[in-house]
Assembly symmetry: C2
Homo-oligomer: 535 residues x 2
Amino acid sequence: MPQEEGTQKDTVTRSNEIARMVGGDIARRAANRTPQKLAFIAPEQDEELTFEAFNRRVNRAAHAFQEEGLESGDRLAIVGGNSLQFLTAYFGALKTGIVFTPINPEITSEDIGYELDHSEADALLVDDVLYPKVEPLVADRDIDVLATITVGDEDSPVPSFDEVIDGQSPTEPAVEIHDEDLAQIMYTSGTTSRPKGVLLSHKAITTGSLNVSASGDLTRNDVTSCVMPLFHCAQLTMVKGAMHVSATTVVRRSFDPDGFLEDVEQRDLTWSFMLPAMYNGLLARPDIEDRDLSSLRYCLYAMAPIGNETLERAIETFDADFALGSGQTEAYPPTCIYHPEWQLEKEGNYWGHAAANTDIAIMDDDGTLLDRGEVGEIVYRGPNVMDGYLKNEEATEEAFAHGWFHSGDMGFFDEDGLLKFVDRKKDIIKSGGENVSTQKVESTLLDHPAVEELAVVGIPHERWGEAVTAFVIPAEGADADTEDIREYASEHLAGFESPKAVEFVEELPKTATGKIQKFQLAEHEADYYQEQVDD
Amino acid sequence: MPQEEGTQKDTVTRSNEIARMVGGDIARRAANRTPQKLAFIAPEQDEELTFEAFNRRVNRAAHAFQEEGLESGDRLAIVGGNSLQFLTAYFGALKTGIVFTPINPEITSEDIGYELDHSEADALLVDDVLYPKVEPLVADRDIDVLATITVGDEDSPVPSFDEVIDGQSPTEPAVEIHDEDLAQIMYTSGTTSRPKGVLLSHKAITTGSLNVSASGDLTRNDVTSCVMPLFHCAQLTMVKGAMHVSATTVVRRSFDPDGFLEDVEQRDLTWSFMLPAMYNGLLARPDIEDRDLSSLRYCLYAMAPIGNETLERAIETFDADFALGSGQTEAYPPTCIYHPEWQLEKEGNYWGHAAANTDIAIMDDDGTLLDRGEVGEIVYRGPNVMDGYLKNEEATEEAFAHGWFHSGDMGFFDEDGLLKFVDRKKDIIKSGGENVSTQKVESTLLDHPAVEELAVVGIPHERWGEAVTAFVIPAEGADADTEDIREYASEHLAGFESPKAVEFVEELPKTATGKIQKFQLAEHEADYYQEQVDD
């Protein structure tokens, strides 16, 4: 039967204002839903904010940004660790259509400069303690340092964030924002040495964070942790996930075992999100059996698996459900959850089930979707998928080949329909939640006169997930030792990028045509850090 | 600073296929996530379907619809009660962009005809037992009866739904569908006698149903009920809510106390959604204390409050959390949940807190948003809000005045931030989950010679929520009694529209200008049905 002209569209009459799905609404809705409930507790900042107070502060930030001349589509970069101000600025940007561009403060000044240039940052917020690091970068760039976030007692010529937003109106800013508008640019490293700017829409960040309650067992009665870095997509989505359901979040600058236990005992923390090494660190404390951990009920971990033996001890000690969450900046997390009921049932790096708003499939190199049991590249679809890479059409096209987002991770679905990670397709190491290009590390180390040839691989490590590890054939006659090379690397690379170990070897495994077989090396040395611990 | 040309849009390169948020994906994602898990159990149909089997069947239906010539934007009407075929057809339509148009089978033939005409239905599915009712309607219309759904043993010249989809391909149909495309037309009555066609986009039905897990405590481990009618938005959203998280749903044709208890005892039902009267009916059973209700943990009720005394008994007997869910077709449910932790804390018709994806505010007649404590119209925003009313610009404009959707319900937020329903703004009665226009009932009854003047109001009733109740000044010399008038009404109106009681009165409360004060009547007679029960 014939299609009526315009049947689908001519009937749509509601305004965008009514029916949109944009990030800033998460803060406003939580404030309207539960104005007097505690949204954030920041023990180190000695501050507690209700959802209403937080939203009013967010609105003040929004008006301050507008007063500084920032408009929808402009980019606001931030170089800072966790703070209430970070979150305030984030939602202030989302509410005004300003594109929030967090920069990892641990990367080198050169890389910060690159990300400022590449994102065409219009304005910058920076922690006061990091101001000296960014000052030389902004001096010769057309970037306005809007404010410093006071977390230390560093003097700077720039007013503090609190001063800048003080006195602004707490009313909702009126800005037209659409679901598909750009909300965030987040940088992530690829196989080449330059990080890529991941473009995330309001729809992507909203539907990604809705996965937290739908698939991560988070409810309105939870008190959640925020000890992972907010400049990373994982912690940022967890905070939004909590706000969707009006759960409270305890914000700390970073993980600190004493602080975490204090939050559990004194603030009844129920739902935590941390790295395996952090849970391990707590388990290793002599006082852990004497602490009152009864409030804790759900412990999400990420970036790396926890061995079943340790896990069993953790479940018993914390008397909580454990679950592994996965995701990546390009497919706004969480994309899969390895649910508590499956933990201990399997061995290895299981990622579990797809979250509510996410499709996961396995694809071969020709773009054919594979059946259960077959190993291939893990590919994603879903409203939480990025728009593309900023100013990088080639990488974007490659990432979206065959109509799916290509993760660069290899895996398969097992007989129970659970996703298992097998390997990384490309030369990327996931170190401390950040992508590290092995090519970048290798080219840096090759500049050292004692290095003749080398291979950099990621090896399982309880703190880093994968530890950057360099196997080096030393140059003939060179008198440098491995420690000299590590030191050299740490001068030229960020902490998470630097090799955690440098090993001298006589030869590297190669193919007949002379290509280094990194996969063989990684497999052979899989227990490298495990053995060191046992020693 | 100047806005770069096209900053927001030119970077978007992912395809719609990758990042869409459309209804049919809910079925596909659940099948990919948990292929072997039970999606639906239909005890009366003696059938169980895994998520994979269901999705394959949905795809077969999609291909069958396409083979019949239906295209994206065409309207598929369905006149039927709950069945696996209803759900199969629903998702089959969603996957092909065909607009699903469920029609309440209890309304009069004339009204069914009106909805078929008004929606310009291209094709129809009908329960075999209802075929005789629709046959005369389709005879003189250009509507193709695609299939009958076999739920009885009624003969019809039309092939069965199962036959029609049998042999079709179980593969995913390839149809381009966008978030904002029309997914459903659902009819709801307004103050005038003709029902209005509510236009719901894929985004609206998806974000509405995501509210079920985010705010209705539904998880992947639940087994949920489906005893409320699927042609109504409430049950339809609950089924999608369950599928988002791969929870199992037990589908019954309608509520049947023995069947429900069987589902709890034999199928470990954990999460139910029913009317207060249904829970009350169960409570009143002599065998209820001897039944094993231990699986049940969360009981959602809707349409009307449950008195605290009954509620206390229900919570104890079922040993479960109770919560009230609200919503309406125009703001795809659930829009608010009166959570378990608040039950028994308050008295009266509380609707509780806004769900995750919904804004709720209180507005006065001039469009000003009111403060806490002030009574006004309940208005909504959110991605779950409808697009408008089909072919009714005037009603659409009125509904979206001042940039919010106007519910027609009056209420306020109390000191704890909880929404309390106060009154209906317009002459609409919500009877058994359906809107009833008092004007329609009044004009029907006025045709009866014994009726001189009357007022029809809604009065609290445990089965109907609000019972349609007629207060009639009899015509002088008429010898008909109230029972004659009730009978006359039920011949001309659907069951839910007919007065549950007709009372003869000598006069009606009126204003000085002679307008009947229905509000006063409703308030004065609030205990009308309560008193009857006590008698």
